[in-house]
């Protein structure tokens, strides 16, 4: 080119515009279902199999021999076992607190993407199509088949119409996912008020004597909890601008478990408030001064000596008879003193570290107040926990407690110090090498002999501890996988910036490692949740044991003998709902953190 310009040839735009590939249901079916003789056979066999299983499953559900009243009548037993009537408010307040915390956090963290009418109508059409198929195929009485088929066809039709009418607007992601979730929650609570189920007569034991609303004792509490949830969200949108809101909520979440556990197990024993308050104030004042000095006065070597002395004192307190509250407070003080040079910060946040310490003191005193003294919740069994409540408490507790232990173990196993590495490896290999059931049995049978006389734990606490230790070993290996995925360059970069080992781990290595292993961690959480059904072996009545042994043996006043099939289906449904919700939540978290994109 003489003038240095490159001339692109003019392309006849209209002629080379590619023809869009043919679309439509027929084309799709031809491509995907009937492309070869073999796939034709596969398609036909598959459809027949699906039809047979739908027919069999629904036939099982609506068979007149099924005693579904065994489930509906025993819902309370399945959920909370024999938790005393006059203390049921403790359960409801606990559930309410968790719901409010959840909605508050949703608002403060601005969680929630948007979905499109297209996606929603697709889901609705799926559900409707399933109902329609069930109505057409299942071994139902004729009237019922008609109803199911009509409802299914109706849902599909409405969804299709909505999508048609909205046209291109249906493809826009403009419906908040949270609104959909709220709608589902409202629907669920409303169904408690509207749905009617047959109820047996307690006098005669005749089944289906009357018809009453489903769960007529729980619909009011659930309504209040629903309202509280909405109020929590509204509040959250108001306060999310405040700077301290997020750390406060994280603290509330961390505290919620022990508080709820003890709130359900017993109440505050107010007779010992005075004594404990005294210890609390003493540690708050003296400890606060020490921490303030360590953070602000740049004591150097002297500061390290003070922290070391505190640590020795804290450890010594465990060797000599000392009140547990004092032992714990000393430990916390020593820990804060040791970490002061690393996390003390400076300038604007001079007081923040001291405030966090004061908060920790307050929490320990409060928890000890809850933990000591006699229980105000009295039941026939030694522990007032049972049913789905014990499943839930064990699962959440084991996951929450095993998390810090597991992370510590993983760090220890990857540490450069051989002593930590060896200890962590031994722990992990020993714990993983023995089946969970064996550990659970040992927790009840052997564990008590490891403690001096007079020290006793409730069975549920022992089981919780062993679940925690077990889960921690697996979690440690998952986290170690994440730690190995963090590139060496990250360590070098943080070293080159002068970060200490603790800072590097807390700010660089761990956050990246945990992000990398979210799927594995979620798998671990779900496994722990389901493994709680093993506690039946040590005599705790969780939902599965009640469903298997208790309800099917009821003969007075109701005759539910042999209702094990119905109960097992119900329990499976309950487990599935929770694990499914959890898995969806984790997918959202993963998406929000942008795993795989950054």
């Amino acid at each position: 080119m003489a003038d240095g310009k490159i001339i692109l040839p003019d392309l006849p735009a209209a002629e080379i515009a590619p023809e869009p590939p043919p679309k439509g249901a027929v084309v799709w079916m031809k491509d995907n279902l009937f492309s070869t003789p073999f796939s034709v056979v596969l398609t036909i066999v598959g459809v027949l199999l699906a039809a047979a299983s739908i027919r069999g499953f629904f036939g099982f559900l609506v068979n007149p021999e099924r005693i579904w009243q065994a489930v509906t009548t025993n819902l309370r037993l399945l959920m909370v076992q024999a938790y005393p009537d006059q203390h049921m408010w403790r359960v409801w307040t606990a559930v309410g607190a968790v719901v409010v915390l959840t909605t508050l956090s949703l608002a403060v963290w601005r969680v929630g993407g948007r979905t499109s009418a297209n996606k929603l109508t697709t889901s609705a059409m799926g559900v409707g199509g399933f109902l329609l198929a069930a109505g057409l195929l299942a071994d139902f009485p004729a009237s019922m088949r008609l109803t199911w088929a009509a409802v299914g066809a109706g849902v599909v039709g409405v969804a299709y119409l909505v999508r048609r009418m909205m046209g291109d607007r249906a493809k826009v992601d403009n419906i908040p996912s949270l609104a959909v979730a709220a709608g589902l929650a409202i629907g669920a609570v409303a169904s408690l008020w509207v749905l009617q189920v047959p109820v047996p007569d307690p006098e005669t034991g005749i089944r289906a004597a009357t018809v009453e609303p489903l769960a007529n004792t729980t619909r009011l509490p659930w309504l209040w909890i629903l309202i509280a949830g909405f109020v929590g969200y509204g509040l959250g949108t108001r306060v999310r601008g405040l700077r301290l809101m997020r750390p406060l909520l994280v603290g509330a979440w961390a505290l919620s478990y022990p508080v709820i556990f003890l709130h359900l197990l017993r109440g505050v024993n107010f007779r010992s408030v005075g004594e404990y308050a005294l210890y609390g104030v003493a540690f708050a004042v003296v400890g606060g001064v020490i921490i303030y000095a360590l953070v602000n006065l740049n004591l150097g070597e002297t500061g390290r000596l003070i922290s070391g002395a505190l640590l020795v004192a804290a450890l010594a307190a465990w060797a000599f008879p000392t009140l547990i509250v004092v032992r714990l407070l000393l430990l916390v003080l020593a820990a804060f003193a040791l970490a002061a040079p690393t996390f003390g910060g400076s300038g604007g946040n001079k007081w923040r570290y001291v405030l966090i310490y004061l908060g920790a003191v307050l929490v320990i005193v409060y928890l000890m107040l809850l933990a000591v003294g006699t229980s105000v919740v009295q039941t026939q069994s030694a522990v007032p926990f049972g049913g789905f409540m014990v499943t839930w408490l064990l699962a959440i507790g084991a996951v929450a407690l095993s998390f810090p232990i597991g992370v510590t173990l993983a760090l220890a196993r990857t540490s450069t110090l051989p002593i930590f590495r060896v200890l962590a490896t031994i722990y992990i290999e020993v714990v993983r090498g023995v089946p969970l059931i064996t550990w659970l049995l040992m927790s009840v049978v052997v564990f008590p002999f490891l403690f001096p006389e007079g020290v006793e734990f409730e069975d549920v606490v022992k089981v919780l501890l062993f679940f925690t230790f077990f889960s921690a070993a697996y979690l440690a290996e998952n986290v170690r996988g994440g730690l190995q995925a963090v590139s060496k360059g990250q360590n070098e970069a943080s070293n080159a910036l002068g970060m200490s080992t603790v800072q590097r781990t807390a700010f660089i290595t761990l956050p990246q490692a945990l992000r990398a292993v979210i799927p594995a961690l979620v798998g671990q959480v779900i496994a722990t949740f389901k493994d709680t059904s093993l506690v039946a072996i040590v005599g705790l009545f969780d939902i599965l044991l009640i469903a298997k042994n208790v309800v099917p043996n009821q003969s007075q006043p109701f005759n539910f003998l042999g209702s094990i099939k119905e109960n097992l289906v119900f329990v499976a449904l309950v487990y599935w709902i929770f694990t499914y919700v959890f898995s969806r939540l984790s997918q959202r978290i993963e998406k929000n953190l942008g795993v795989g994109e950054r």
Partner: protein
């Protein structure tokens, strides 16, 4: 800016082994304040190992390294403090992928230097303007081009207000189009009087910016001198061969 009188890095007979392989076979040199030293040499010649010994990412086994008057030894108690005086830029950028650009730059000043957050953020914005990408402050490293990431890495190192900057092949992982933008930042930095030790294959940069060029091979300095001497009148056969192959 004129080179200072004070020796800020002193190396004497530095030797380093990786297992049986000797990576450094005795390196002796000094770097003065505000001097820009460019280290070149074939791969495997020990040049990267050498500058990584200066901030003790690698530990040398024999010889002496003194940085700003502090002897690099095994019982060095405040290694973090020395490292915070020596900024380093890596070939692979090594930005923290889970933090925004702003957090990448302010993390160390806040937690290592204990600076108040707003002060650290002001400084970070100034540095981002200096390297030419203030508008990227709230993005994540993965959303930036390689050249932009490397400029952020330079800003991150500068945020610690170091006395010395080490560059370990800063442009080797970049597309040719992006090399210039990084080199421009480095030139500006050299002109502002920063003490720099740069491992690079960019001969143009060495010729234009360096006060002194070190040629490494077999784990030691084969030849050193001003860029003019080095590129126009090399003495050693090994240097001549190397230059004939790359120029």
């Amino acid at each position: 800016m004129a080179i200072g009188e004070k020796d800020i890095i002193v190396c004497d007979g530095v030797k380093k082994w990786f297992g049986d392989f000797q990576a450094l076979t005795g390196v002796t040199t000094t770097v003065k304040e505000r001097e820009v030293v460019v280290v070149i040499g074939p791969s495997g010649s020990g040049k990267s190992t050498f500058i990584r010994c200066i901030n003790r990412l690698e530990q040398h086994q024999e010889g002496v390294i003194e940085v700003d008057g502090v002897l690099m030894t095994n019982d060095l108690r405040n290694i973090e403090q020395i490292r915070s005086e020596v900024g380093m830029v890596f070939q692979q950028f090594n930005l923290f992928p889970h933090l925004t650009i702003m957090d990448n730059i302010t993390l160390a000043p806040i937690w290592v230097r204990k600076r108040p957050k707003d002060e650290a953020e002001d400084l970070a914005m100034k540095l981002l303007e200096r390297v030419g990408i203030p508008e990227q402050a709230h993005k994540y490293p993965g959303q930036l081009s390689g050249g932009q990431q490397q400029r952020v890495a330079i800003a991150r190192a500068l945020a610690m207000e170091p006395k010395i900057m080490l560059f370990d092949e800063p442009t080797s992982a970049l597309d040719p189009e992006m090399i210039k933008e990084v080199l421009d930042v480095m030139k500006e930095l050299a002109e502002s009087g920063m003490t720099m030790v740069v491992v690079t294959h960019e001969m143009g940069f060495a010729r234009e910016v360096a006060d002194r060029v070190l040629f490494f091979d077999y784990g030691t300095i084969v030849e050193e001198g001003t860029p003019e001497h080095f590129f126009t009148n090399p003495q050693h056969d090994r240097t001549k061969l190397f230059l004939s192959q790359i120029l």
